[in-house]
């Protein structure tokens, strides 16, 4: 059971094809699989559909795949930070399926748990529910949303052991666990691979069963909105 690969390109070898569905972790630019996105760009694979909360910015995150026109469709909740995205979207070159953020997360989690559909109150009475099955439970109306079963998951964690048991750091966890769970194959990049046995089993956020291939990489970890407060008296 060798999960560790030398780099992102090797870790993705044999997994990429045109027109595939990729689930990606990250919220904004926080906790995104930087190295794997770069390797996907270099591979030249195209007509991709991404299930990802956001679409990065013009020159970082999924944005780098928009520049090269490798993305056909986005399944996202918010895409406001990306000019190239908006240009392609308004020109009809890029399809978008807006999902409420929690519905997107639960669709990933459900897919990973073998649940093809679930009912939620979110979006009932809005455009999101149009064309979908409605059902009443206890006098309240719910809408049927479908689990996401991705061809590939690309995620980023802080640390993992050699078996893929992973720990995330602060709000960089976000969509990474549900995205990891919903792919047929999951490739994870981490800041540090540590020896198996050195992580406390009680502290594992994502068990290695969900992780098939693993790389250690350097991460830029760009900040999207740097906000600070002044020290008193300063």
């Amino acid at each position: 059971m060798k999960k560790i690969y030398a780099n992102a390109t090797e870790a993705l070898d044999g997994l990429l094809r045109d027109d595939m569905l990729i689930a990606a972790g990250g919220f904004g630019l926080c906790g995104i699989p930087e190295r794997l996105l770069e390797a996907i760009k270099e591979s030249g694979v195209k007509d991709l559909t991404f299930a990802s909360n956001n679409a990065g910015v013009d020159d970082f995150g999924i944005g780098i795949l928009l520049q090269t026109r490798q993305v056909k469709k986005m399944m996202s909740s918010y895409v406001g930070e990306n000019d190239e995205f908006m240009r392609q979207y308004l020109a009809g070159e890029l399809e978008i399926e807006f999902n409420p953020q929690g519905t997107l997360a639960e669709r990933m989690r459900a897919g990973g748990c073998g649940i093809p559909g679930f009912y939620t109150k979110t979006g009932v009475g809005t455009q999101v529910a149009e064309g979908k099955e409605l059902k009443d439970f206890d006098g309240e109306t719910y809408v049927l949303e479908e689990g996401i079963f991705a061809d590939l998951s690309i995620v980023k964690a802080w640390k993992a052991d050699e078996t893929g048991n992973a720990i995330f750091r602060k709000t960089a966890r976000n969509f990474n666990p549900p995205a990891a769970m919903c792919g047929k194959v999951c490739v994870m990049e981490v800041e540090e691979i540590v020896p198996t046995g050195s992580l406390d089993p009680d502290h594992i956020h994502l068990p290695g069963i969900y992780v098939h291939r693993l790389i250690q990489g350097e991460h830029e970890k760009r900040i999207e909105q740097r906000t600070v407060r002044q020290k008193e008296g300063a």
Binding site: Y78, Q101, Q127, F168, T171, P178
Partner: protein, 207 residues
């Protein structure tokens, strides 16, 4: 005189009770955190955090620690982190007592529109639809009229909905209105604003 942004936030803070877990939207709702006083309020950030602290001091920003507006923030002693599925599980599951958020339009039946204007750039609903459908109480903070002077408190929303029948309370620059059976009820007026002033600025039915 109508309330300004900070006064609206201060009034909204009065809706929060000791011990509540609360989600604050972007804009005026964010300012509510400045007015909770001695009340023990835990702020949720829907990207995966309970116990959101203030902005960091310069040089202490952490790219792994942001709020739902993608701003750098800090953690507190009570902070807990979790993934997006669990975050919206607690929202959808009704564990978050209240959400305070902005709006483009609110209707007398509690319908809320705040995510898209047809024909204009659509950026997405983010977590707003999940929040308004799931939390215990939805408080809208917004100006009573738009920049053309037209009412934002309507009989029916004209914009695509974020949620149907979800709003409990409206705090505008003119006062506070509660959504009740059959329409809206004026709870409070801003200083020197009369109930007639509110009625004149409101298209919705006021009981």
């Amino acid at each position: 005189m109508p309330w300004d942004r900070n006064q609206m936030a201060e009034r909204a803070a009065q809706e929060l009770e000791d011990g509540m877990y609360v989600n604050l939207g972007i804009g005026i709702p964010t300012l509510v955190a400045n007015y909770v006083g001695d009340k023990d309020i835990t702020l949720q950030s829907e990207n995966g955090m309970l116990g959101m602290g203030p902005f960091p001091f310069e040089g202490e920003e952490d790219p792994d620690l942001i709020n739902a507006g993608k701003q750098t923030i800090t953690e507190m002693d009570r902070t807990a982190y979790f993934d997006s599925a669990q975050s919206f599980g607690m929202i959808r599951g009704g564990k978050i007592a209240a959400a305070i958020l902005g709006a483009m339009e609110v209707a007398e039946n509690g319908d809320l529109a705040n995510w898209m204007i047809p024909g204009k750039l659509v950026k997405g609903m983010g977590g707003a639809m999940d929040l308004v459908a799931g939390v215990g109480r939805v408080v809208v903070v917004m100006d009573h009229t738009n920049k053309h002077g037209a009412s934002k408190v309507l009989k029916e929303c004209t914009l695509p909905l974020t949620g149907a029948g979800v709003v409990d309370l409206i705090i505008s620059n003119l006062g506070v209105l509660e959504v009740v059976e059959g329409g809206l009820r004026i709870v409070e007026t801003a200083p020197d604003v009369t109930e007639d002033d509110i009625r004149a600025a409101t298209e919705a039915t006021i009981l």
